[in-house]
Subunit: 217 residues, 2 copies
DNA sequence: CACATTTGAAAGGCAAATGGAG
DNA sequence: CTCCATTTGCCTTTCAAATGTG
């Protein structure tokens, strides 16, 4: 058994978000026939012409920052979007589905929606982290999740962890048992999880290059 | 308040599944470069050359029939795929996610997987229906779902209901209040749900034809 | 009622986990 | 442990049910 999941040093980002390729995107768009669709936060935030504050006085930059951190903190607690959505339903405030959580994290929603959702998520997450400090048993009780069964729950790595793993992989795709142990310790993930990650990574790479043999356009 | 959801006469299908367009499907497929991917049940069942029984002695026809009925019965109980998955996790047998339930219903799995899943779902569903007869309170307790809150739970119509609604719509896209009441009663859905369905249907139709004005290829 | 918008259930993509063979 | 095929779940996306406004 293992204490739910890691808590990979919630350090400062250090990973600039790379505001997607700016300009140069005026290619023959597939056909945006929609009338006047309200833009999403991620769309607005990626073209800083408007500054950080939306016309309705909403601080887009702040929301972007929070959304990013929310994801990291959620994953650090070892929770899925589904669990958050479900737990939210059980609390006093408004309820939201897994889809809603997903959209918020990806900022694939209107500023108005984001503004409404942010305090709800913020409050909930703080509460969840508090419970977690008092022991993971409290956390699981809070989110109402069963201890799971047979199959191991699929772990979701934080963006940082993925990046680190890829870096290691690039340097050495076939680490020894010793090295795996070290990496696992460094990233604060279960050793087995890291080992399997390398196996799967090699497998994917192999399959990918196999396809390239056919030279698909 | 309302008793969870309808139980639209779980009568005999009467709606032949129309085993997808047979033959004539040898169009220039996008590129199935996969090595030798095990075919899914739906793929196998749609080309009856092999008969109803798989090479491993699995009765595909039976599985198809069950999958279809499973969906109807699930919806009749007013349950979502997510709820089934979650409830399954809480029981003794193996646990499965919403994705797994989805794949089973669409038969988007290998015969082997389907064979494994079928008894699990069958047993669970029987139990669920039993609880439901003893009062919906029992059912909700069984699936462990909260009574929900603010926003009304999105209703999912059974395939039959959809078909019937479309038939009505084709005859008359703007039914009177009286007619709506009758349709709702006939299909055993909440009147309001039916009314909104017609509103949304008209809206969708309008938007769709608006697009056609541009004559998209 | 029409219409724009918000939001969730179902479905799809990718990859974490599993299991068999070496 | 490895490789490899396969199973299965988390996250994402689509489409439409629900909501809000005139």
């Amino acid at each position: 058994m293992q204490p739910i999941q890691p808590a990979p040093a919630v350090s400062q980002p250090s990973v600039v978000i790379a505001t997607s390729t700016p300009a140069t995107m005026s290619a023959p768009v597939p056909v945006p026939i929609t009338c006047a669709d309200t833009p999403t936060v991620s769309q607005l935030v990626s073209k800083p012409q408007t500054g950080v504050v939306d016309e309705d006085g909403i601080n887009l930059e702040e929301i972007r920052e929070f959304a990013k951190n929310f994801k990291i903190r959620r994953l650090s607690l070892g929770l899925t979007q589904t669990q958050v959505g479900q737990a939210l339903t059980a609390t006093e405030g408004p309820a939201y589905s897994q889809s809603a959580i997903c959209r918020f994290e990806k900022l694939d929603i209107t500023p108005k929606s984001a503004q409404k959702l942010k305090p709800v998520l913020e409050k909930w997450l703080n509460e969840a982290e508090l419970r977690n400090q008092e022991g993971q048993q409290n956390l699981m009780e809070f989110v109402g999740g069963e201890p799971s069964k047979k199959r191991k729950r699929r772990t979701s790595f934080t963006p940082q962890a993925i990046e680190a793993l890829n870096a290691y992989f690039e340097k050495n795709a076939l680490p020894t048992g010793q090295e795996i142990t070290e990496i696992a310790k460094e990233l604060n993930y279960d050793r087995e999880v890291v080992r399997v990650w390398f196996c799967n990574r090699r497998q994917t790479l192999k399959n990918t290059s196999k396809l390239n043999v056919f030279q698909i356009p």
